[in-house]
């Protein structure tokens, strides 16, 4: 490989990892919900869209930086998630319906309603939050004058990535070090055993849906400085989260992180070497490959095989 070729490859992988970090955050939210409630939340991307519109309004009306809007959007989405779970999804979980997967269908409906509401309020125009640091970047040659290749690191992308990392770290702390976090994991692993331990399983479901929504809402705030926004954007991110959840092995948070990074890098590679329009195809290829070759999720490749569960 010539130096320029190496440069392109490294730059592509770097961008892919940054994107992957954000994807991971989206995927973790869906994975948590999947683990505890055993349903795929197909309104996940739409919840992210809601988070993005919150950031957009805060920016354009109150001039609040999108990164700061996390502190408003995340609690707002937490609340929205709780309400959705408590008053829509939970009642449907309880009835024996003709279609067993009717909660999943319900989430599709919730997603449609959310994007329709967004269209009514904001029209279907593309929106952005033109922050003044949007095009700022760091260059490898700034710190290493003699570098044979040039790499750049966009400021908003790296800030978004760092936030994603911090949120993931905080979530890890919550899930492993607090009793409530452990109770959520316990509910995902064995609901009845959790009940016997005194876990209010029903409440854990509500909290988890809120938490998953807050996570994807935060991801929305991290995406908006580097992306554009329109009411139907949710669908593509629901699909992304779904692919990551499958890749990660339904319910594994570590799997979702690895899955997010893999998907980010793969999409970045397809857009560089096959053209922008091919990124969705890349996603689909990963999805099929995951279903066929690692149906248990990538983490199953690293953990000891066990029977039962």
């Amino acid at each position: 490989m010539t130096a320029p070729q190496v440069e392109v490859l490294l730059q592509t992988i770097l961008s892919g990892l940054l994107l992957g970090g954000l994807y991971a955050l989206i995927g973790i939210g869906m994975t948590l919900i999947m683990g505890v409630m055993k349903i795929i939340n197909l309104a996940h991307g739409e919840l992210m869209m809601v988070g993005m519109y919150i950031a957009y309004v805060l920016f354009s009306v109150f001039h609040i930086d999108p990164y700061l809007s996390i502190f408003i959007a995340a609690p707002a989405l937490f609340l929205l998630g709780i309400l959705l779970q408590k008053y829509l999804i939970n009642p449907v979980l309880k009835v024996d319906a003709i279609i067993p997967e009717n909660q999943v269908i319900l989430t599709v409906g919730i997603g449609m309603v959310l994007s329709n509401i967004a269209t009514i309020i904001f029209s279907s125009d593309y929106k952005t939050t033109p922050v003044d640091y949007a095009t700022k970047a760091w260059y490898l040659s700034d710190i290493w004058k003699a570098s044979p290749i040039e790499l750049s690191l966009s400021l908003p992308w790296s800030v978004s990535f760092s936030f994603a990392l911090m949120i993931t770290g905080a979530l890890w702390f919550f899930l492993t070090k607090t009793d409530m976090g452990k109770s959520i994991r316990a509910t995902a692993q064995d609901k009845d055993a959790a009940l016997l331990m005194g876990v209010n399983v029903e409440r854990m479901r509500v909290v988890t849906f809120g938490l998953g929504s807050a996570l994807v809402g935060s991801a929305g705030c991290l995406f908006i400085p580097i992306y554009y926004l329109y009411p139907d954007l949710g669908g593509q991110f629901t699909l992304t989260a779904f692919v990551i959840t499958i890749l990660g092995g339904l319910g594994s948070t570590v799997g979702a992180i690895v899955g997010g990074l893999i998907l980010g890098v793969f999409e970045s590679l397809t857009s560089t070497y096959a053209g922008m329009g091919w990124a969705p195809v890349g996603r689909f290829v990963i999805f099929l490959a995951a279903l066929i070759f690692v149906p248990q999720g990538i983490m199953s490749l690293f953990t000891r095989k066990r029977f039962g569960k």
Partner: protein, 242 residues
Amino acid sequence: MPDVMPNIMLDIQHLNVFYGDVQVIWDVSFSVAKGEVVALIGANGAGKSTILKTISGIIRPAGGEIFFDSQPIHTRKAYSMVEAGLAHVPEARRLFVEMTVEENLDMGSLKGAARAGRSNTKEMVFDLFPRLKERRKQIAGTLSGGEQQMVAIGRGLMSLPSLIMFDEPSLGLAPILVREIFNVIKKIRGEGVTVMIVEQNVKQTLAVADRAYVLETGKIVLEGTGEALLDDEHVRKAYLGV
């Protein structure tokens, strides 16, 4: 049952339980006094686990009443039982297999006094099962069957229960481990904890039990002291194979 029994800890009255349309528990009544070890024995499918699950609130009875410490508990939420002092070590252990040994023990002590005394109780559990101390950071799903049973028992004890119910704690264990588990059960009763035990290992169970009930297809057919049942003709034929 005689109403004269002193200090009744658990009192089951005319319990009827269904799975869908199928009735599996028929008018079952029995009681456990404070400090007793009471065994419930019966063949596969007799309904032993169903009774324990109904006591701990995972299944709702169609009829009958359950009193724990004189309080009706058959209408209580399942998750509030452990706080009331009732621990259930379920059949097949039901550990949180992706958590460490220590996290599993933590899950047993989420509320009240159990939460406050978590680290002390944990040391007590480690004294009871030194092997768990060595393996405290190991993922529960990777433990051996015997070790898993120790975690399940330890997790139950972590709630500082006044009554602990074991569902087939010796299932699938080597004889030496079975003996260890029964020794631990004796120690637990020595601490003043009331024990209810469901077992198919009839001989050893009757040896540690003060009293026992024999359950056949959802009905109690016999009751008596452990010793008396060990000598009972029907029990010897049906459960001891002699």
